[in-house]
């Protein structure tokens, strides 16, 4: 896990990522994506390194990073389950689905299980309103779920 990664390795690998984007106009977002993909989150040390190399202030990079929920501050679980909490899903039982999933995983929103297997995130619209209520597990969409499907989802991520 990235959490155990030594500081110099974070800064070195971040520097290598930044280096690949220096020719790009507006390189900050693609760099943050790559850093997130590399470490599973965007460590503070990476933010400072990016700021230094792009000649930005660390406040600026922090502002951009914190605007996007997908750039996380601490490492996410092995699996990431995103549950839609927006209007269309709520209209067809999204709240009940959300409650059932929280209960099945024993997690609150934004929490990661103690063993690091799964992170539960609320999202506001997955663009799958026609198949509401919807969730996304590790980038894969699932639609028309019922509260009773929560246990199966929980079992799937624990496998």
């Amino acid at each position: 896990m990235a959490g155990a990664m030594p500081m110099h390795e974070i800064t070195e690998r971040t520097a290598a990522i930044v280096d690949g984007y220096l020719h790009v106009e507006g390189p900050l977002l693609p760099i943050l994506h790559d850093v997130q993909a590399t470490f599973g989150h965007v460590p503070d040390a990476a933010v400072e390194k990016i700021a230094d190399l792009l000649n930005l202030s660390r406040a600026e990079v922090h502002g951009v990073k914190s605007f996007y929920h997908d750039f996380q501050t601490s490492p996410a679980g092995h699996h990431v389950l995103k549950v839609c909490r927006a209007e269309a899903c709520q209209a067809v039982g999204g709240d009940a689905l959300g409650d059932a999933i929280q209960k099945a995983l024993g997690l609150d929103w934004h929490e990661t299980s103690a063993d690091g297997t799964v992170t539960l995130e609320p999202v506001y619209c997955l663009g799958l309103c026609s198949c509401a209520p919807a969730v996304m597990l590790d980038g894969e969409l699932r639609g028309r779920l019922k509260p009773r499907d929560a246990e199966a989802l929980a079992a799937e991520v624990r496998r």
């Binding site: 000649n55 202030s57 660390r58 406040a59 600026e60 922090h62 502002g63 914190s66 996007y68």
Partner: protein
């Protein structure tokens, strides 16, 4: 007197040749093209409600309160982001707009605390004003929902609530009051240029964050106060306003710190200073400030201030508080005895670059008219005397050629031996703004200063030269410009002496001056020098800014001449955006030089040998003036050691701490019979004094300061002097105790005398200054409103003069015993010897002087960050803590001189500039080694200092 309210036009001024006429609420108004509808309205006297707009920063269009209706346009555009168009018809108040604005305000207020009565911004809150302006009467959403305000009706904890950040000593950040208008973030970016703030999160989670969700103190924040000034609510609020309340009147005055000379409104409640707010009409600072001028005025009421005169028979005695009469009689008696015993030449004065022009003028007059000699010198001796000499030789005047506005038109800026972000922060912000617009930067400095690389600023070239080789590098740049044919021949033919130029070409073209040949001396890659020279010569408007890193060398004057040569070679003199600009260290160092503080010059830089000039003053003063130049500070000290110089009146300068070779200074002072220190505090020099006359602060007197742009700014009295007298009155009392019979009742009378005797000040009066705000000398019949830019139609001396600049290595050389070069500088939060700033909360940023040392040199000596080290030179040794940093090159170490405990000047030598005796502070060969703590000298000195500060209990 009332509180000065400055008009906020909402968006910055637009500059255009074209004028556009629009109709706003039935009134016609003509404004420059590019002006916003909001600003045009304000010009017509119509206030459009607004929250996120303010004229210090660009329009943002986020608060949706400034919406207007424009005939023929759909919807309700934001007036701040909509530029005017010819013939536009704008309505700022319609039924539709009223409903929209009230709706927007309802949303704002639904998530804002309703503690207006107990809020520190009560009476100075734009949110409150706007609620009134839009007629907000109730909030339909209630206050029970999600919110950032702690008060939750049901008693639950609120995860959205963040407590106040009180880490900064001068202001607080209260997130619960924030309306996320981004004015603070934009002020930090656009005005200050630090980029320390951001809005973190999104939507309802958005809030202001310093750094990466850090406290303000831990972030990159430099505490300039721009965000506090921009904040429309109490979110960012001065602690002094929280403590005291809102001010009721204000007076415009001038900051007493660095040579930028910022204008401030001193906002008062009765005789209590509530806050200092930078004044937008101030022509040097244009509404900006730094941590010193904005916040660090607490020294004026510090308990260390001495408010009663004191005397003592011997310097080993404790001080005795006495009446003014007794102190003055004692001082006058001693000075008279000295004169009778040792002759007229045995007394002298040192004028202060921190006091006003009028005060300085009186002090030099005291020497010339009352002591009857020219023994007057000033601290400019130890900083910018080479500027006076060098620019005087080349151009004919001893001052910078531009105003600060000029930087807005520069294309290439060359910074030599200056660290503006620390030393001249408000100018640095203006420079950085220009750099962000695309101007190029070249930095010549042994140390990687912040300008070399900081957010959104990057120098095109950094020439990290070895300390002491300025002349070599500047001449090498000239070599490139001449040999590659990059010089401006038309300019030189028209404006300069062509024969002297030919001689200079012959000298500078020689191979020994090429970048390749001098690399061994300077340590700078020749290719970098060549590229920098080409950029400066061909990059458009080239401006040179330099500081004490140029002057405080054995060849300081030569480097100044070299800089003047560079400017003349490239035709960069006499118009906006170019020029040679010394960044003056102290608030009135320019003024103290103008006022005749030097031993060889009467006011206006006129040599005392000139009978005509002497005659002017002899007539005005009714005395005869000696035609013999007097003693410079180092000569006074030498003469004291020899026993021929015995009496010294020092106004507002701490020569023991600020002058080089401390041991020599203390020996000189100790040999005198009468040292009169006139200061706010018992400074280090006062340990050797027999008379202490308490001084007044800039808040307690009227007068003028002249800044680095030659701008004469008014200083206005806002408090009664706590010590009883303004400094000019004290000098007058001393003169009169010696029988002078001066009868000035106001500094304006002293200015009238200066104007009558000094051509460059001929038309300066207090009335003119009140009317114009400030003027830049020369101000005479030819230039009745002053001269923002000099040498516009030819040099003051006639033809510009090229002078050869041979490099001569300093005698201060490294060797086996002292292998490193020490150079010195300053830091943002502290000022000079720290007498003022150390007595304010600024010390949280800089508690002690640190020695910067390169990791390589540190490792060789087994030193770690934070270790105590011994710093030794041929002159002496001291100890301080080390900080390991690659800002300095290997072989170079760096420290500041703000703290008397460090006594960095115990280390510096008595080598000095060949022309002006300006000490060589910037180069000392040293050795650094491990240490356990303070040196013997420091321990001894501390016990001596505390003994000297004893004051006898009143009987």
């Amino acid at each position: 007197m009332s509180l000065i309210q400055e008009t906020d036009y909402g968006t910055p001024v637009a500059v255009s040749d074209k004028t556009v006429t629009v109709t706003i609420d039935g009134s016609q108004v003509s404004v420059p093209e590019g002006t916003s509808v909001m600003r045009a309205s304000m010009e017509a006297g119509i206030k459009v409600p607004k929250l996120c707009a303010t004229d210090m920063v660009d329009a943002f269009g986020s608060c949706r309160l400034c919406l207007v209706e424009i005939e023929g346009k759909r919807g309700t555009p934001a007036s701040c982001t909509t530029p005017v168009e010819e013939g536009m018809v704008v309505h700022t108040q319609t039924g539709r707009l009223k409903d929209l604005r009230r709706g927007v305000m309802e949303l704002y207020i639904s998530d804002h605390p309703l503690d207006c009565l107990t809020c520190a911004a009560n009476g100075d809150c734009e949110l409150q004003d706007m609620a009134g302006a839009v007629g907000l009467r109730d909030v339909r959403y209630g206050y029970e929902g999600d919110g950032h305000v702690q008060a939750r009706q049901n008693g639950e904890a609120n995860p959205l609530y963040k407590p106040k950040d009180e880490s900064n000593p001068y202001f607080t950040y209260d997130p619960s009051k924030c309306i996320v208008c981004s004015r603070c973030v934009r002020a930090c970016e656009e005005v200050q240029g630090t980029f320390a703030l951001t809005i973190e999160g999104r939507g309802f989670d958005s809030r202001v964050s310093a750094g990466m969700s850090e406290t303000f103190l831990a972030s990159e924040c430099v505490s300039c106060g721009a965000c506090v000034q921009a904040c429309p609510t109490a979110t960012l609020q001065e602690k002094s306003v929280i403590d005291i309340g809102q001010p009721e009147h204000s007076v415009v005055t001038t900051c007493a710190y660095c040579g930028v000379g910022c204008s401030f409104k001193a906002e008062m409640r009765g005789e209590e200073l509530v806050r200092m707010v930078p004044y937008k009409d101030g022509k040097a600072n244009r509404g900006h400030s730094c941590v010193k001028g904005r916040f660090a005025y607490g020294y004026a009421s510090h308990s260390d201030r001495i408010l009663n005169p004191m005397i003592r028979e011997n310097i080993s005695d404790p001080w005795k508080e006495v009446s003014w009469d007794e102190a003055l009689a004692f001082a006058a008696g001693r000075l008279r005895t000295i004169e009778d015993t040792y002759g007229k030449q045995a007394n002298g004065v040192i004028t202060s670059s921190r006091c006003t022009n009028e005060e300085t003028y009186l002090v030099q007059k005291l020497a010339r008219a009352v002591f009857g000699n020219n023994n007057t010198d000033t601290c400019a001796r130890v900083c910018h005397s080479p500027t006076g000499y060098g620019l005087g030789q080349a151009f004919g005047t001893s001052a910078g050629t531009q105003d600060f506005d000029s930087v807005e038109q520069s294309d290439v800026v060359l910074v030599i031996g200056a660290n503006p972000t620390d030393g001249h922060p408000v100018f640095a912000s203006r420079l950085k703004k220009r750099l962000r617009q695309g101007a190029e930067l070249i930095v010549i400095d042994p140390r990687r200063i912040d300008l070399v690389k900081s957010p959104h600023v990057k120098a095109a070239h950094h020439l990290p030269l070895r300390p002491g080789t300025n002349v070599a590098i500047v001449t090498a740049m000239a070599h490139v410009i001449v040999t590659e044919g990059l010089f401006d021949e038309a300019f030189i033919r028209e404006r300069c002496d062509w024969d002297e130029f030919q001689d200079y070409v012959e000298f500078v073209s020689h191979e020994r001056n090429s970048p390749e040949a001098v690399e061994l001396l300077t340590g700078v890659q020749p290719q970098t020098v060549r590229e920098a020279a080409r950029l400066f010569a061909r990059g458009g408007n080239g401006a040179i800014y330099y500081g004490l890193g140029v002057t405080e060398h054995s060849q300081g004057s030569t480097t100044v001449i070299g800089i003047a040569n560079l400017a003349m070679l490239t035709g960069n003199i006499g118009r906006p955006g170019v020029g040679v600009n010394p960044l003056r260290g102290q608030n009135n160092v320019q003024g103290s030089c103008d006022m005749g503080s030097f031993p060889h010059e009467l006011p206006g830089y006129r040599h005392v040998e000139g009978a005509e000039v002497r005659n002017i003053f002899e007539t005005a003063w009714g005395v005869s003036i000696s035609d013999e130049p007097g003693l410079r500070i180092p000569n006074m000290l030498d003469a004291a050691v020899e026993g021929t110089f015995k009496g010294l009146y020092v106004q507002g300068e701490d020569i023991l701490q600020s002058d080089p070779d401390t041991k020599h200074v203390s020996a000189g002072l100790a040999a005198m019979d009468c040292v009169i220190v006139h200061d706010l505090f018992l400074n280090e020099t006062s340990h050797y004094a027999h008379v202490f006359l308490p001084g007044s602060t800039f808040l307690e007197k009227d007068g003028t300061f002249t800044n680095a742009e030659r701008r004469i700014n008014r200083v206005r009295k806002v408090l009664s002097p706590r010590n009883g007298y303004a400094d000019w009155e004290v000098t007058q009392l001393l003169a009169n105790a010696l029988g002078a019979e001066w009868d000035y009742t106001h500094p304006s009378q002293i200015m009238a005398e200066i104007a009558a005797t000094t051509p460059s000040f001929a038309n300066v009066t207090y009335e003119l200054l009140d009317e114009q705000g400030s003027v830049q000398w020369p101000c005479n019949d030819e230039m009745p409103n002053g001269s923002p830019i000099m040498h516009t139609d030819g040099f003051v001396r006639g033809k510009g003069r090229f002078i050869r600049t041979d490099y001569v290595a300093t005698d201060e050389k490294t060797g086996p015993r002292f292998p490193l070069l020490l150079t010195t500088g300053r830091i943002l939060s502290q000022y000079n010897v720290g007498a003022q700033t150390r007595r304010t909360a600024n010390s949280v940023w800089h508690e002690e002087d640190l020695l910067e040392i390169h990791p390589h040199d540190a490792e060789l000596r087994g030193l770690k960050d934070g270790d105590w080290v011994k710093l030794a030179s041929r002159s002496g040794e001291t100890s301080l803590r080390a900080t390991v940093s690659d800002r300095v090159s290997p072989g170079v170490v760096y420290t500041t001189f703000h703290h008397p405990d460090t006594q960095a000047n115990v280390i510096t030598t008595d080598y000095s500039d060949w022309a002006t005796n300006c000490p060589e502070y910037k180069v000392t060969a040293v050795q650094v080694s491990q240490s356990n703590g303070p040196s013997d000298w420091q321990t001894e000195y501390n016990s001596f200092a505390s003994k000297s500060r004893r004051i006898e209990a009143a009987e």
